[in-house]
């Protein structure tokens, strides 16, 4: 019976009920859409940044991260590669060696970061092989060929194009002179200015020979299908690295700024969300309180007829819950539809392309919906409105039948 009463009361003032539930709906739709958008952009930022070069995790010689010098290399221990292959989420294992050297063309010379890569597996840990704008990537035979691919800006600075020769000058691992003559076969463009300006890739074998690496490498780069499932395997990767006296770095260690950037973004948007929840809670509190106060006489009659205050309170709670459920249902449906729509179409930022590529993002953002982003915002809105209903309900317990009936 109380539910029936509450239901009918809700529709005595249909305009108020509709406005109140629309306020809830609007806020919850927004609080579904925004976190989904943020989550989606975090995921794509992390994926894009890691896939560009770093991979999902790396195994290195201890101390290499702080001192990435050529001497801090590692000899691949027996069985390590096989152990890694047995871990479920690892799809690709690629070895690299890295050093700075001077690249010189006929007219120019520039410093560059030279990376020795296994050309067949490199395409699976890094997007550089797929971002070749001219020519081609290193051939897939891991041979000792004298080919080199350069970043776009580096190639432009050196004034070289496909087929030109460049001379490499650097220091070998044992301190000897490292010198080589290489042919440019490809030019890549990643959109990250530091990479396009500084990076050049040659085959790992060639690198090891030129820099007197004695079969050693600087990093074993690991990759998988997606970062969240890959993270589950980090424990086993740490264990394998430790067993071989090496260190494994996960993506947060490889890109320490990235996680902090995400946390910063979350913590700057939180105050906005809290303020929105507060605004909608206050306006709902107002509406509920008014609906209680304007019925003072009616409640007086109910009380004098013998209805208990607790039952009237129950009725008010039910009215509020009806309002909340109505609002949340509309809001969740709206938020879901909106988010799913943009998850397919994407939100395009043609003008902000500059920013996005610098952060490793494509120029469209795709919100990602999951149970958490779908329910957390609406849940908090519902709970905070429910909590604020305590104030109007307390009014009911204070009512005395006779004065209440006489109230204007």
């Amino acid at each position: 019976m109380i539910f029936g009463l509450a239901w009918r009361n809700s529709w005595r003032q249909p305009r108020r009920t509709i406005l109140s539930s629309l306020a809830i709906a609007f806020t919850s739709a927004f609080l579904i859409f925004m976190p989904s958008l943020q989550y989606g952009s975090y995921i794509s930022m992390v994926e894009n940044t890691l896939r560009l070069f770093d991979g999902y995790a790396e195994i290195q010689q201890p101390g290499y991260r702080d001192n990435p010098e050529i001497r801090n290399s590692l000899k691949i221990p027996d069985g390590l590669i096989n152990d890694l292959k047995n871990i479920k989420n690892i799809k690709t294992i690629s070895q690299r060696a890295i050093s700075f050297a001077l690249l010189a063309s006929n007219q120019r010379s520039f410093g560059a970061q030279i990376v020795g890569v296994q050309s067949d597996s490199e395409a699976l840990v890094s997007t550089i092989p797929n971002n070749i704008k001219q020519g081609r990537f290193l051939l897939n035979d891991n041979s000792n060929s004298n080919e080199i691919v350069l970043g776009k800006v580096l190639a432009k600075n050196l004034k070289v194009s496909i087929g030109d020769k460049v001379t490499l000058l650097g220091n070998g691992r044992n301190g000897s002179l490292a010198a080589d003559s290489l042919t440019v076969v490809g030019i890549f463009s990643t959109g990250i200015s530091a990479m396009d300006r500084l990076m050049a890739e040659i085959s790992l074998q060639r690198f090891q020979q030129t820099f007197s690496m004695n079969q050693q490498v600087h990093s074993i780069t690991l990759s998988g299908t997606d970062i969240s499932s890959f993270q589950n395997s980090m424990k086993s990767i740490y264990a394998i690295a430790r067993k071989n006296n090496l260190v494994a770095l996960d993506w947060q260690q490889l890109q320490p700024g990235l996680m902090k950037g995400i946390l910063l973004d979350i913590s700057t948007s939180l105050p906005l969300y809290i303020a929105m929840v507060l605004v909608v809670t206050f306006s709902l509190l107002n509406s509920i309180l008014m609906s209680v106060l304007e019925r003072t006489r009616e409640f007086g009659v109910l009380l004098s007829l013998g209805m208990r205050p607790s039952n009237i309170a129950k009725m008010i709670w039910l009215e509020t819950i009806i309002l909340i459920i109505l609002g949340l249902l509309i809001g969740i449906a709206l938020g879901y539809a909106l988010t799913e729509y943009y998850a397919h179409v994407g939100i395009h930022f043609e003008e902000a392309q500059e920013i996005f590529s610098e952060y490793g993002l494509p120029n469209a953002m795709y919100p990602q919906l999951n149970w958490f982003t779908l329910l957390i915002g609406p849940g908090i809105i519902g709970l905070s409105i429910l909590a604020s209903t305590i104030f109007p309900v307390m009014r009911i317990y204070k009512m005395q039948p006779v004065p209440a009936m006489k109230a204007v």
């Binding site: 003032q13 108020r16 406005l19 109140s20 306020a23 609007f26 806020t27 702080d66 001192n67 010098e69 050529i70 700075f100 050297a101 001077l102 006929n106 007219q107 120019r108 010379s109 520039f110 410093g111 560059a112 432009k156 600075n157 650097g170 220091n171 530091a194 700024g257 990235l258 996680m259 902090k260 950037g261 946390l263 910063l264 973004d265 913590s267 700057t268 105050p271 906005l272 809290i274 303020a275 929105m276 507060l278 605004v279 909608v280 206050f282 306006s283 509190l285 107002n286 509406s287 309180l289 008014m290 106060l293 304007e294 006489r297 003008e351 902000a352 500059e354 920013i355 610098e358 952060y359």
Partner: protein, 413 residues
């Protein structure tokens, strides 16, 4: 006029007939406005921090180069030091600081390691107020004059090179003929900045040493300057360009927005986001406002009927409700604005991002945000919410004026 006075006092009293409702509505409007203004100010502070970091990192408000230099920052593309007329313009009151630099790509070698970087020859005194260099030396000393020997390295680069103060490094760079020039420098200073990229990207030597090492006589790569007032930049650049056209000098003059399109895009995005959030927050406030006013109208239906029966024109009832909403919004907006201004004032001495600072520097901003009171922006947000609120209340006001006197007087509750 008499009537207006009457409306105002009627509306004012009506507001306080149900003070609880009025107070709750105030709080809801106030919180909304407060959140908007404070967030907008934080976002502005963030954008400013990015802007300043970018201006301070050698960009200045504008730069002058040889044509082609920006596409290909090579020693081949040089300009003469500013001539008499150009110097006079650069020394004018509008300019806060200006300097000339040699800036070429180079490789630095320590005993252990080598790394590529931009070698910048600077005039040490002129960099004061222009770039970060003079204020960022954490070890050793800054240069005394344009002849000072030595080199300044970034902390991170020094660590990567495994070198330290007073050790020697060798700089290799290309001279004008294409031959490699090589010279040893003693590390006389180590600088530290928030953006680690900068620390590995630039090494500084004195201007004369750079010119003599590269054998380019008195030539330079760039002129950079900052003005006292950024708004005068376009005008100033216009003057400089005109001067160059008159003397038949071909130079590439670019403002910061052309040099750093990334920073410009970030600033644009910030103002766009602020506008969007203001609108969304307003829609939320509007729901609450319309609801409150509608209720206030409904519970007074009988009263409005009576007023009309006594001869009050329907339009007067509408004015009365509109004035009520003007008060309701106004007090909420003003309270929200005042509280937000004091919140900003509280943080204006610097809001340390603490543990999150690494993320902030990754995005090119600083570790400490300095929110400022932006009068114009705050008043735009406040006025927007206020005026839109009054417009929104047209609907309840119109409803109230439409009641038919006899029906409403007889309406039972």
């Amino acid at each position: 006029m008499e009537k207006l006075k009457l409306f105002i006092s009627l509306s004012w009293r009506n507001l306080w007939r149900n003070y609880r409702r009025t107070l709750i509505t105030f709080s809801s409007i106030g919180i909304g406005v407060w959140a908007m203004i404070v967030l907008a100010s934080l976002m502005e502070a963030w954008a400013m921090s990015t802007f300043n970091a970018s201006i301070n990192t050698l960009t200045g408000h504008a730069q002058i180069h040889a044509e082609m230099y920006l596409q290909d920052p090579n020693i081949e593309y040089r300009i003469d030091i500013p001539n008499e007329k150009q110097t006079a313009l650069l020394n004018s009151d509008a300019v806060k600081a200006w300097s000339v630099r040699v800036r070429v790509p180079a490789v630095v070698q320590s005993e252990r390691e080598n790394a590529p970087l931009m070698l910048v020859g600077i005039n040490p005194q002129a960099e004061n107020g222009l770039s970060f260099i003079p204020d960022s030396i954490t070890k050793g000393t800054y240069f005394n004059d344009a002849d000072s020997p030595g080199i300044l390295l970034g902390t991170k680069l020094a660590k990567r090179l495994r070198t330290e103060l007073n050790k020697r490094v060798v700089i290799l760079s290309q001279g004008p003929g294409g031959d490699i020039k090589e010279r040893g420098f003693r590390v006389t200073g180590i600088y530290e900045v928030e953006q680690e990229d900068t620390e590995t990207q630039y090494a500084f030597i004195s201007l004369n040493k750079a010119q003599s090492m590269l054998k380019i006589d008195g030539d330079i790569s760039e002129v950079s300057f900052v003005l006292h007032n950024l708004d005068e930049l376009d005008h100033f650049l216009e003057k400089y360009k005109k001067l160059n056209t008159l003397s038949n000098i071909k130079q590439d003059i670019k403002s910061w927005s052309e040099l750093e399109p990334f920073t410009l895009a970030l600033l644009d995005m910030t103002s766009g986001t602020i506008a969007l959030l203001t609108v969304i927050m307003f829609i939320l406030i509007a729901f609450g406002l319309v609801n409150t006013l509608l209720m206030a109208v409904y519970e007074r239906t009988r009263e409005f009927g009576l007023l009309q029966a006594l001869g009050m024109k329907p339009s007067y009832i509408m004015y009365m409700i509109l004035i009520e909403s003007t008060f309701l919004m106004g007090i909420g907006v003003i309270a929200g604005t005042l509280i937000s201004l004091s919140t900003i004032e509280f943080f204006s001495s610097g809001l340390d991002l603490g543990a999150l600072a690494e993320g902030s520097t990754m995005f090119g901003a600083g570790r400490i945000m300095y929110p400022e009171i932006h009068w114009l922006q705050s008043s735009i947000i406040a006025m927007f919410v206020w005026i839109m609120g009054i417009i929104t209340s047209l609907y309840p006001a119109w409803r109230a004026s439409r009641e038919v006197p006899i029906e409403t007087i007889n309406k039972a509750y």
